[in-house]
């Protein structure tokens, strides 16, 4: 299934705290568009509302104000309309402990009403692609953390969803495993043509993965919307530093201004562009 467009218009989300009754603003005012097939990374400090946005995108939670449209409809209001279209990789693997790896990957297909023989064949194919051919019958507790997250990735991709979402899915793994899984995720997402949103608090990850990097203020609003292709490899260290200072100051670092000297220097045709 090819990707769908994600449109976020003046999105606001507030929570009322259970005990004090006071309001916490998790998403202030979000506006952005992610084009079909694009892979976007969202970075922001802890507690800036990334997971809240994730829940609204999945349709588990309703916006307080504004709109979030995927392919023109709202995931919360049109909940069942998104059956088979959205898949997620969560922070933890969230596998069902009583199901084998294979049966875990079958789950989304069962829920989508795919015939049983096709379920098993497709699930087995995806587990093989993720290097788990020998572990199809293993229960989650018999697998390492990295392997479990691979199963979770297979479970997301088996649907060939239009929208793929990942919320800090690799952050708890060691760096080598995390990088490997992240690259696998991105390669597979490109192959599927899905629109993918990767939420992370790691700048390296955001820059190396995304076509776009959305830098969030706290509470969530877009501080910077960076097209990574505008920044050739040589400029990545600079880009990283600029994003970091943006996050620290909670306001846009001048180096990221579209009109900044540095940005234009790195831009195609600029003095510092890789091809120059």
């Amino acid at each position: 299934m090819s990707g769908l467009r994600i449109e976020v218009k003046a999105l606001r989300k507030a929570f009322r705290q259970t005990v004090s009754g006071s309001e916490v603003l998790a998403i202030d005012r979000l506006d952005f568009v992610i084009e079909p097939g694009e892979i976007a990374a969202v970075v922001g400090t802890t507690g800036c509302g990334k997971s809240t946005l994730f829940d609204v995108m999945i349709g588990l939670d309703a916006p307080t104000d504004g709109q979030l449209l995927i392919g023109g409809s709202e995931p919360y209001a049109d909940f069942d309309g998104f059956r088979g279209k959205i898949a997620t990789v969560f922070q933890q693997d969230r596998l069902l402990p009583w199901r084998s790896a294979l049966d875990n990957v079958c789950l989304p297909l069962e829920l989508a009403g795919v015939p049983e023989a096709a379920q098993r064949r497709r699930a087995a194919e995806w587990l093989e692609r993720l290097g788990l051919a020998k572990f199809m019958q293993a229960y989650p507790h018999e697998l390492s953390g990295g392997m479990r997250q691979r199963v979770a990735i297979a479970r997301a991709f088996v649907l060939q969803p239009a929208i793929l979402l990942a919320d800090e899915s690799f952050g708890h793994l060691d760096e080598v495993t995390a990088a490997e899984l992240r690259d696998t995720f991105v390669a597979l997402a490109r192959e599927c043509g899905s629109t993918a949103v990767l939420i992370t608090h790691q700048l390296e990850e955001a820059i190396s993965v995304g076509d776009r990097v959305l830098v969030f203020a706290k509470p969530a609003s877009v501080l910077a919307d960076i097209r990574v292709s505008d920044w050739p490899r040589a400029g990545h260290a600079e880009l990283r530093a600029a994003i970091q200072s943006t996050l620290q100051g909670n306001c846009l670092d001048p180096r990221l201004e579209p009109a900044s000297v540095l940005a234009s220097a790195f831009a195609p045709g600029g003095a510092l562009h890789a091809g120059a």
């Binding site: 999945i58 349709g59 998104f82 959205i86 933890q92 069902l96 402990p97 789950l107 829920l111 507790h141």
Partner: protein, 260 residues
């Protein structure tokens, strides 16, 4: 610990060993009983109060299998019915806060009623014997099943529920593929608790309100002043309980084999 014997080495029996100490304790107890029985006159107890094993064996031989079957059928039938009712109520309460807020206090009320009151109500209200017994057992076991089940449904993690919901399951899929498997361990524990409770309750209910079953036979034995018969029926009850528990343990080992 002894290694698994060859025939039993299929994982189910893992960690089981020959219950030597238990058998020794039981034999010692039996020997003391027999000794006391033979010397009843010396101790100053009427011999009829402490029948020897020869006399008890005689009673056992005279027991009617149909009464055992009737009691077991009542227990199993009532437990299945209680369980199904509890599943329906627990699902309704889980899905609707209003149903829970109105229903739960009533369930707590049912749980506070003493067993003997249920039995007397049953005898006063209903003429039909099976209905009386079934009513008592369901009134006692149903609420217990329900309360346990609702608590463990609420204990299913939000992480797993969100994961499941992200795939847009129907209500039946949500319960069938997530909630019920997730609460299965505690459901099995509930079954064990309710089983031993039901066996004890059914005998009292039969004693008061029935003309068949082990409980009724116990009241007959009491009218005949036959301690040997009471002893024999009690042995059977204990054996039945252990047997049904063993069946539940086998089921548990099979359905929870995924557990580390």
């Amino acid at each position: 610990m002894l290694p698994d014997s060859a025939g039993a080495g299929n994982g189910v029996q893992r960690g089981r060993r020959f219950p030597r100490e238990a058998i020794v304790s039981l034999l010692v107890l039996a020997a003391l009983w027999e000794l006391a029985s033979r010397n009843a006159a010396i101790i100053g107890i009427p011999p009829i109060a402490l029948p020897g094993f020869a006399r008890i064996a005689q009673s056992l031989a005279g027991l009617t299998v149909i009464d055992v079957a009737v009691t077991v059928a009542r227990v199993v039938g009532a437990l299945v019915l209680s369980f199904l009712l509890a599943v329906a109520c627990a699902v309704a309460m889980y899905r609707s806060v209003a149903v829970e807020r109105y229903g739960y206090p009533l369930v707590r009320l049912l749980m506070a009623v003493p067993v003997i009151s249920w039995i007397l109500f049953a005898v006063l209200w209903f003429r039909q014997v099976e209905f009386r017994i079934g009513f008592v057992l369901v009134a006692v076991c149903g609420p217990l099943f329900l309360v346990d089940m609702l608590a463990s449904m609420k204990g299913v993690s939000k992480e797993l529920r969100d994961m499941m919901r992200s795939f847009r399951p129907t209500a039946a899929q949500f319960f069938g593929k997530l909630m019920l498997p997730a609460i299965l361990p505690s459901v099995l524990t509930s079954w064990k608790i309710n089983l031993s409770l039901a066996i004890r309750v059914v005998t009292i209910a039969e004693l008061v309100g029935a003309v068949t079953g082990i409980g009724h036979q116990l009241s007959v034995a009491q009218e005949l002043f036959s301690v040997a018969d009471v002893f024999a029926w009690t042995l059977i009850l204990v054996a039945v309980l252990f047997l049904l528990e063993a069946v539940l343990n086998r089921i548990e080992a099979h359905v929870l084999r995924w557990r580390p």
